[in-house]
């Protein structure tokens, strides 16, 4: 393990922790809600 690997390792761990914490403590259904109804903006209608 080199010193150069330290920052990426910390970042990877942080991202994984954020993903876990966000999905467990937050409300990931807000993501689902938008994704599971047709996005009229994406189509250019809304």
């Amino acid at each position: 393990m080199t010193k150069r690997a330290l920052l990426p390792m910390v970042l990877i761990a942080a991202a994984a922790a954020a993903a876990l914490a966000g999905y467990l403590l937050g409300d990931p259904w807000v993501i689902w809600r938008k994704a599971a109804s047709v996005c009229l903006e994406c189509i250019g209608v809304g």
């Binding site: 259904w29 807000v30 809600r33 938008k34 599971a36 109804s37 047709v38 009229l40 209608v45 809304g46």
Partner: protein
């Protein structure tokens, strides 16, 4: 690495490309400033659950009904709700407009919006399961907003997805269907369509049943609505219809926007209705 002449200008060309995307942003936002969320009059009720929706729908039989499916997180929905409320403000009671939140898992967000916006149209919140059942039943794709127009007989007339203007909803509410309009002038007598009777009372009481029978004789099945004051949804609908609360069952006949006095007996109802029809 070294390139010929003309490189400078080309190097900056990504800026106009990216900035060009601001043009539609400006075009979308500029007219949006005209929107106002609150409309005149009192705020309509916020009801919860499918039962509440069904009784609202039932209460609207005999008039044209616009049902708008929305959610608090749907920006175009929030943008068009004031229009729908305005439609109701100007056309009620010949047209009812109901906004059904089908995309909010939590009623709190809906309540907050309802309280802040103060729109006059009645709102209904459905939880995820009830919303799913409704959209399945009505065969609504997973799109918001959706507005469905039902005729006075309860038959679907048209539906649209995507936000619309006030003018559009006015036209939709007019439906091009003449008998949905209130018979302001002489309804050439005997036409059941022009008379509408709201019967208020517990459905199991004999007084209510008697009133109901007479009301149906006068106005036809389509022209009668029954409200049970003990039912919270009915009670809220009574508030929005401005139906008085009385200790005994009663029936109130209306022709268009004009309503007669609340009648507590079948004969009184017949008399009031006749007077109303003759006077209109």
């Amino acid at each position: 690495m070294k390139k010929g002449s003309g490189r400078r200008l080309r190097d900056w060309f990504w800026i106009p490309i990216v900035l060009a995307f601001l043009v539609p942003v400006v075009l979308v936002v500029a007219p949006g400033h005209r929107e106002t969320a609150s409309s005149s009059g009192e705020a309509g009720p916020l009801l919860e659950g499918r039962g509440a929706l069904d009784s609202l729908l039932q209460a609207s039989s005999g008039r044209r009904l616009l049902v708008n499916l929305w959610a608090t997180w749907c920006t175009p929905c929030i943008g068009e709700l004031p229009h729908l409320s305005q439609v109701r403000d100007s056309l009620y009671p010949s047209v009812e407009v109901v906004a059904v939140s089908v995309g909010d898992p939590d009623v709190e967000a809906v309540r907050r919006f309802h309280d802040e916006a103060g729109l006059s149209l009645p709102m209904v919140w459905l939880d995820a399961a009830a919303a799913r059942r409704l959209t399945d039943e009505w065969e609504v794709a997973d799109v918001l907003p959706v507005t469905i127009a039902f005729g006075p007989g309860g038959r679907e007339e048209s539906r649209v997805a995507g936000a619309r203007s006030l003018e559009f909803f006015m036209a939709m509410a007019a439906g091009g269907d003449a008998d949905s309009l209130p018979a302001g002038e002489d309804g050439d007598g005997g036409d059941h369509g022009v008379l509408h009777v709201n019967v208020v009372g517990p459905p199991d009481s004999p007084e209510t049943t008697a009133l109901l029978e007479e009301a149906m004789r006068l106005a036809g099945d389509e022209g009668v609505d029954l409200y049970d004051p003990r039912d919270p949804a009915d009670s809220a609908a009574m508030d929005s219809l401005m139906l008085p609360r009385m200790d005994v069952p009663y029936a109130q006949p209306c022709v268009g926007a004009a309503c007669g006095r609340p009648s507590t007996t079948p004969s009184m109802l017949a008399e009031t209705a006749a007077g109303l029809l003759a006077g209109s």
